[in-house]
């Protein structure tokens, strides 16, 4: 097992050691200290709208079931029968007040409570329910504007404390709906990469790579995205605390000054949406929301909101990660939502015109860091020009590695809490 002293010697302010991506002992420690301790995004309330709805989800390699009970309360249950450890739920989603294990028929309420088992005389009668365990449940489950997070630790910071300023980015996203709500109803594409999960987290708000990795699509599609991440861009990279970070592109979108310019969708193509936004927020505020655009924020450790799509990062092994992705859908915006699905499907997933190339970089990177020399990965870009903004956040230019440095600093506080 890697000792924490060891770990501190592998993370420096401007570089990190390659073994952090390849060492199975460090990965095992990350599961315990990060994935099974801190708040992890699990799912969205729109995926379980009705009482007794459930969906299967995950917390890293842990399979969980996100349920809404008959009273509306939300639970995150481990998918493991308390009898012999069998998986209780098979279906990706369903509606049931209770779950019956296929192995011996043990039956649990969707709150996790054990309701009974066949032939109970073998346990001395029905009262045995009192001493036998139910399904394991995440001790802490909280949601913020429909985004459900769980912590497998009984104690720790609250979800609001964990999210900090990143909560404002969720607010920004929800405001793009005339009803103030996001709906994740478009289904998921799952993309597996042979790479460590942190390669993905770091890439999500790395503004240095798009012009290189995505030049093939930018050059032929006339996309303005490349320019957002140039040295001339007024966009910034901001560390939001708690390991969260963003590429704040809104200065560029404001320069554009066109409602929905951020989405590359002329207002004339989505007149119902634009009208609904102005009706909901008033002309001035509605226009401002539609000009400022959607966030590009990485909420540590696994939720990445990238303007029109939402990614959930799931580590499965030290060098195996699944990225789950869906098109964000806004309540009360059917005309916009269809365009978002179309746009998102073209960009993401195994065949995506953007994400297949990101994935190629993760995988090449994973093979690269396994090579012996020079051992370290450089994180120094923009360190000399970093500043602190009026709210005390560290800010770099659009292409600086401010977000990675902040992620690693937070990583150390979790991995070595002393």
């Amino acid at each position: 097992m890697t000792t924490t002293t060891d770990l501190r010697s592998r993370v420096e302010p401007d570089r990190v050691h390659g073994s952090l991506y390849t060492d199975p002992a460090i990965y095992a420690q990350e599961l315990e200290r990060i994935w099974y301790t801190t708040w992890v995004y699990v799912g969205h309330t729109s995926e379980i709208p009705q009482p007794n709805d459930y969906v299967r989800k995950n917390i890293g390699p842990q399979q969980v079931v996100l349920t809404r009970d008959r009273t509306g309360a939300i639970h995150v249950l481990h998918n493991r029968c308390s009898h012999r450890g069998n998986l209780v739920c098979d279906a990706d989603r369903g509606n049931s007040s209770s779950f019956r294990c296929p192995y011996h028929g043990w039956t649990f309420a969707n709150t996790g409570e054990l309701l009974g088992f066949p032939f109970n005389q073998g346990y001395g009668g029905a009262q045995a329910k009192e001493r036998l365990a139910g399904l394991g449940a995440a001790p802490r489950v909280e949601s913020y504007r429909g985004f459900v997070f769980a912590s497998l630790a009984a104690e720790g910071p609250t979800l609001r404390e964990h999210l900090g300023a990143a909560a404002e980015r969720i607010d920004q996203l929800c405001r793009l709906s005339p009803e103030g709500e996001v709906e994740l109803t478009a289904g998921w594409v799952r993309h597996e990469v042979t790479a460590n999960w942190k390669m993905l987290v770091e890439n999500e708000t790395d503004g240095y790579h798009p012009q290189f990795v995505h030049s093939s699509i930018f050059s032929i599609s006339g996309s303005g995205i490349g320019a957002l991440y140039s040295d001339k861009s007024t966009a910034v990279t901001r560390a939001l605390g708690g390991g969260h970070s963003e590429n704040d592109l809104s200065p560029e979108f404001r320069k554009l000054g066109v409602p929905m310019g951020w989405a590359g969708t002329p207002e004339a193509r989505i007149p119902d949406y634009a009208a609904a936004m102005r009706a909901a927020y008033g002309k001035e505020t509605g226009d401002e929301i539609m000009i400022n655009g959607s966030p590009h924020v990485m909420i540590f450790p696994n939720l990445f909101i990238a303007e029109i799509q939402l990614f959930v990062i799931q580590p499965l092994a030290v060098d195996r990660t699944v990225q789950h992705v869906t098109a964000i859908q806004f309540a009360g915006a059917p005309d916009l939502n269809r365009r978002l699905v179309t746009q998102c499907v073209g960009s993401v997933g195994p065949a995506g015109m953007l994400l297949a190339d990101d994935a190629e970089m993760y995988e090449r990177n994973q093979r690269g860091v396994a090579q012996r020399q020079p051992e370290w990965l450089d994180l120094s870009r923009g360190l000399q020009r970093e500043r602190t903004d009026e709210r005390g956040f560290t800010v770099g230019t659009a292409t600086d590695e401010t977000s990675m440095r902040a992620m690693w600093a937070h990583y150390l506080t979790l991995m070595d809490p002393a």
């Binding site: 369903g94 049931s96 028929g105 039956t107 009974g116 066949p118 109970n120 029905a126």
Partner: protein, 77 residues
């Protein structure tokens, strides 16, 4: 319930239909995994609507009905 009257989840598959062979209509429930059938008349259905929450929870205990081992009648309606 789908067009064929199926109410199904990964845990159970039941066909629900309206039976009019008796002197009043009743609900016919068929457990498609075992073939067992039960009829529910209007008053029985009303009673289920008004039953306390604990009533259904108790019914979901497998030892309460189908898988009893105390010698009393079990194994189907």
């Amino acid at each position: 319930m789908d067009d064929d009257g199926l109410v199904a989840s990964e845990f159970a598959t039941v066909r629900v239909s309206l039976d009019t062979q008796g002197n009043s209509p009743r609900l016919r429930l068929e457990d498609l995994r075992s073939g067992a059938v039960r009829f529910l008349d209007a008053l029985e259905l009303e009673s289920i609507v008004w039953a306390p929450e604990g009533f259904l929870r108790e019914l979901l205990d497998p030892s309460r009905h189908r898988w009893r081992d105390d010698g009393s009648a079990g194994g189907g309606p």
